[in-house]
Point group: C2
Chain length 351, copies 2
């Protein structure tokens, strides 16, 4: 396989390494991921994360697995069955982000058995990896029409180079605005429980030199009332055809607060996040995660709440499309009324 490099995922010959995102920003540790089952583990514990990146990581892992078993003499039906079963395990690692499912469809499940070769898997995985860079660039470019010089922008979770192979989705729009000389300031929601904002977005904005202020999630409302936030941009893990979308838990709260305070609210994502099978948000499955993530700070062993207390810990929530000012995709900018008129359905129209 080609040498592939991004902020948090590298492929060199037959070796995949990921930057362990559970340890950032205090430690920058690269982990070698030897096989797809190790990748499933890395995805589940969020060592690799972000809807676009987990799909890409799963695909390169599957492609290298194919090369390995082929070199061991596995072929024919045995090869096809092994690849499909491995792809199933990767597909089930996280239920909400649809990029993973759609990428594995493209790799395996929508491929005729006779075409399911190592060459196809490697070429497709490489293309998915490299395409994501261009998707991020296109999102960042289309997003500029909604960012003005002087804006203070709220963002939630991490949607940057750690969750994609490019400059990111929502963070990509922000970074591009900064690169173009717009004087922007970012308010970073820390994003409980896993603190992707406090740990990862801060780390990325530091590296990119974009000025920001870290806040607790519950402080955004007061800043909006005080006129300190001009707009909000978030990413997505799955977008339905009517504009409803699943994203990191707390996104719906941001959307409601924006609506109340008349702050424009945008979602930025690649087309690989739009689920053509999903008419609206009601059918998006929401992953429930371990209560210790809320009882304390997962990964450190630190628990500050009673050890057995009952916890509700959805990893994502669904925001109704009607709360969006607009959706920024690689294919363009879709204002709320265009989505309502069927713009996302048209993306998938044949021809």
């Amino acid at each position: 396989m080609k040498q592939l490099n991004s902020t948090a995922l590298k492929v060199d010959q037959d070796r995949i390494s990921i930057l362990d995102q559970t340890r950032l920003p205090n430690q920058e540790i690269w982990l070698e991921i030897p096989d797809p089952d190790a990748m499933v583990g890395a995805i589940r514990r969020l060592s690799v994360r972000g809807a676009p990146l987990i799909s890409i990581a799963a695909c390169v892992s599957l492609a290298l697995h194919a090369a390995k078993i082929e070199s061991e003499g596995v072929s024919g039906d045995e090869f096809a069955i092994n690849i499909r079963e491995t792809a199933e395990r990767l597909r089930e690692s996280r239920p909400t982000a649809v990029n993973l499912m759609l990428a594995l469809d493209r790799m395996v499940f929508r491929v005729a058995p006779e075409s399911l070769s190592t060459a196809h898997l490697i070429a497709t995985a490489e293309r998915i990896f490299e395409d994501d860079l261009a998707l991020c660039e296109a999102i960042a470019t289309h997003g500029q029409q909604v960012i003005e010089d002087g804006d203070a922008i709220l963002t939630h979770c991490n949607t940057g180079g750690l969750g994609t192979t490019g400059i990111g989705t929502a963070i990509g729009v922000i970074r591009k605005a900064h690169e173009l000389g717009k004087r922007i300031h970012v308010y970073v929601d820390e994003t409980r429980p896993l603190l992707q904002g406090g740990r990862l977005t801060t780390w990325e904005l530091d590296r990119a030199g974009v000025p920001y202020t870290l806040i607790c999630d519950n402080m955004a409302a007061g800043l909006m009332r005080d006129g300190k936030i001009q707009r909000a941009i978030v990413g997505a893990d799955r977008v339905a055809l009517n504009g409803d979308f699943a994203n990191k838990t707390g996104t719906y709260s941001v959307a409601v607060l924006c609506d109340y305070h008349r702050v424009p609210f945008y979602c930025a994502a690649p087309f690989t996040t739009v689920d053509p099978e999903c008419a609206n948000g009601d059918t998006i499955p929401i992953e429930l995660r371990d209560g210790d993530e809320v009882r304390g700070f997962a990964g450190t062993g630190l628990v500050w709440s009673p050890a057995e207390c009952q916890v509700y810990n959805p990893a994502f929530d669904v925001t109704p499309g009607k709360l969006l000012t607009g959706l920024i995709l690689d294919s363009g900018y879709y204002p709320s009324d265009a989505i309502e008129a069927g713009a996302l359905t048209e993306l998938f129209a044949p021809g």
Copy 2:
């Protein structure tokens, strides 16, 4: 001084002990607080906290200090000056909660110099301590008219026996409902950054046997949309005469989310939290605290965000009275329209 006992503050002869609330729920450690300056430190680092309790703790500390300097032969002008200066230092320990200021007015600043005796200070401190029990009971009783059998109730921060000498304010209403056999369930906002919900309210509800579910602050909106929350009750650190009130950071966010989802939203507090000098919320000073509270989890030394990153960390925010469904005081229940018609101003009318 009398022997005085509450969940987190005890007085035995000339010794004051506080339950160190920075260590709960994992460790129950009582600290002896030898003098008012040590009490200022304990208040600032939140070892003792909650608007009613810090005012009471400051008063007993000042009264015992008076007894001590009197026994050392300090008297006359020297005594009065010492007491006033000590009271000033206590008054400045935290700027937002008004109970502390009003209690010290009653103890010292509105007392004629010739009446400023150890006997007055001890009797007043004892009365303030003991009165708070009755205030909590009255709040809990008046609050029952807004709690129905089967309710799931959202609360924010800690407003229980750890923040008062009685059963609490908002938590007092909840505990009383449970004691009366109403089948209620509490959703506990963890309340970043200092996690008073996750650490303290959970601990109190466990001890009281009230069923609850711990959530991150950003999850409440989704629960409201799903119809899982019937009402929200919070406390206050200062209530203005028009119903605007300062409370733990994140309260304003809860209020907006309740308004959007048509969830009734209440504030419960003793009359000692209403500031007759304060016409509206604009003049309430908001304490800004150390950024490390947001960069990590204060008190543990754990910092998960970049060490030098810019942080906004207001300890409180102000919620407009118009977002209240009603205010529950010890003197009764005040629906929003009664407050608008001047009900709080009338509380302070002479005669």
